[in-house]
Amino acid sequence: MFGKIFFKELKYQFTSLTIIILIVSTFLFYETQFIGDLKRDWVKPISPRVETEVLWAKEGDALTLNSEELIKPVYDNMKVDYEVGNTLKIKGINRVYEKINHEQETVLKEAIKEIEDESFNIDYGEFRIIRERVNKALGGNTAYSEEYFTSCFASKKPYEVEKKEYEAILKEDMVTNSYARLFADYIGIVLGFFMVFVTGFTFVRDKRYGSNELIYTKEISSLKYVGGKYLADVLTALIIVLVVAGHATWLFHGFSKITGDSISYTAFFKYTILWILPTIMFVASLSYVLQVIFDNGIVPIIIQFIYWMYSIDIHNNQITKYIIRFNEIAPYSQFQPLEHTIFVNRIFYTLLSIVLLFVAVKLWDRKRGMLDDGFKIIKNYCYNQKEF
């Protein structure tokens, strides 16, 4: 019986429109933020072929880059590529050197000559055209492309520093554990809010479709009914996150094959369960309680949004915040001081979710026997005046 409720709710969720909101927001955030970070900062630093000075300047809290200063390193790199006969290609989150053919060498030679003819006094627009032409001739996705040239030629830290950091991550985290914390940070933000669109209407829907009185009078226990729906709603979100975690693992599997560095294949799944699942459970439980009390799905969304705004503050992971924030790639030794606080936070929200679930069960049980009670008493009174 419990299983039937669970599977029917699961089926409903995966054929509903609200699930699209969750899927689209999760994948969009994953692609733009998490993958975006990987492609901006790269996983494994590679030794630069030319002198790439740290071209970033600090203006207040922000780092700024003068793009025009990139002309020289790009030119130098073109020369080395031409001389060595290969060029850097970007494949997903990886960077590999690939051989170039004679025609491509000719294009490179022409580009180098054009820059030399102008004695490096070309304007940025002209430089951009040359760079794009070279990128196209080399087959796209090269270090000269608009998308990648900044991250390839203007590193924020010197190569030696980056290399040292990566070695620490490799040693302490098998690479992926460190990235899984960043993954959990971003996905936690998305699920922490958008999950409510999936769970905020679970019981309101029964009423909207006019099934609530039929359901209330059935034999099923309130625990089985609410619990079955809860498990299905939580699993719906968890499946989506696990699919994304699977994709991240697959990306790093490719990275491992190319670099030869070993990775942890369980990292993304582990952080999904330990960091993201309590967030999913909490949002589901809170929205259940709120919708049963207020008899609509809008109130849970508004309250969740306010709480979400408060919880996404990055500065600490105090107990009052239900989303874990750790927006950096750092080896385990740097994360360790926060580990206990995060552990306590996750245990607290897991237990709180279970308590809230039982509160929702109790409230729903009361509601099914008191249609004319609670926050809707005035409405029901008026209704009964007309209908009794």
Partner: protein, 243 residues
């Protein structure tokens, strides 16, 4: 199954909706008649565990209506207004409500139950495409899926065409052969054609409790209209006016 109400009262604030209802209902199809606002829906909702009574007692074969867990095993309830998840098929709906009734039914059993309400050929059809009459018939199947001993039906024929009304009445008559069925309506014809006994509620009070036949007999033909036999409707109108 016997339903007994003793001094049943329901108040909404200072407004008394049910006033000291005393009645006894046994096996068979019983009509509950009354004008809009008479208290029919409130009475049925109390019997169905949906709302609490203010005072008095209601027993189903000696089990108090306050023992909701036990009562929900006994009753089937079909409210006046209901629908289902639109994208579920007819089969899925019955399968789902069987689970809600703690019943595990095989595919054949579900199809048999659909056959009883003449919907077996539509088992793959999505609920949103059903007509109002078909939905009402599916509603009867849903309220009967737990094989309740008591069926409580609120205005099942409202808005249906004559053919569907006949189908619904016949189904309820069949169910009433071996169960207690309480049929609430303000359509006198439904009661006249399908029930042996009826209760008339008006302004929260029971104004008639007896057989359809004796209610008609109480309405003696007027001297001015010698050729016209009194109908249930005439008798009902008289009771309503008198209170």
């Amino acid at each position: 199954m016997n339903i007994e109400a003793i001094n049943l009262t329901k108040d909404y604030g200072s407004n008394r909706v049910l006033d000291n209802i005393n009645l006894n209902i046994n096996k068979g199809l019983h009509g509950l008649l009354g004008p809009n606002g008479a208290g029919k829906t409130t009475f049925m909702r109390i019997l169905s565990t949906l709302i609490p009574k203010t005072s008095g007692e209601v027993y189903f074969d000696g089990i108090s209506v306050e023992n909701k867990k036990e009562i929900r095993k006994i009753i089937g309830y079909l409210p006046q207004e209901f629908s289902f998840y639109p994208n579920f098929t007819v089969y899925e709906i019955l399968d789902y409500f069987a689970a809600l009734s703690n019943k595990k039914l095989s595919r054949n059993e579900i199809l048999d139950k659909l056959e009883q309400v003449h919907l077996e050929h539509l088992f793959k059809v999505k609920v949103k495409t059903l007509s109002a009459g078909m939905k009402r018939r599916l509603g009867i199947a849903v309220s009967m899926v737990g094989e309740p001993q008591v069926l409580i039906v609120d205005e099942p024929t409202v808005g249906l065409d004559p053919e569907e009304r006949i189908k619904i009445r016949n189904m309820l008559s069949d169910i009433g052969k071996d169960r207690t069925v309480l049929l609430s309506t303000h359509v006198v014809e439904d009661i006249a054609l399908s029930c042996n006994t009826l209760l008339v509620l008006n302004k929260g009070k029971v104004v008639y409790d007896g057989t359809v036949k004796s209610m008609i007999e109480q309405e003696s033909p007027s001297l001015d209209a010698e050729l016209v036999s009194p109908t249930l409707e005439d008798a009902y109108m008289k009771f309503i006016k008198e209170v």
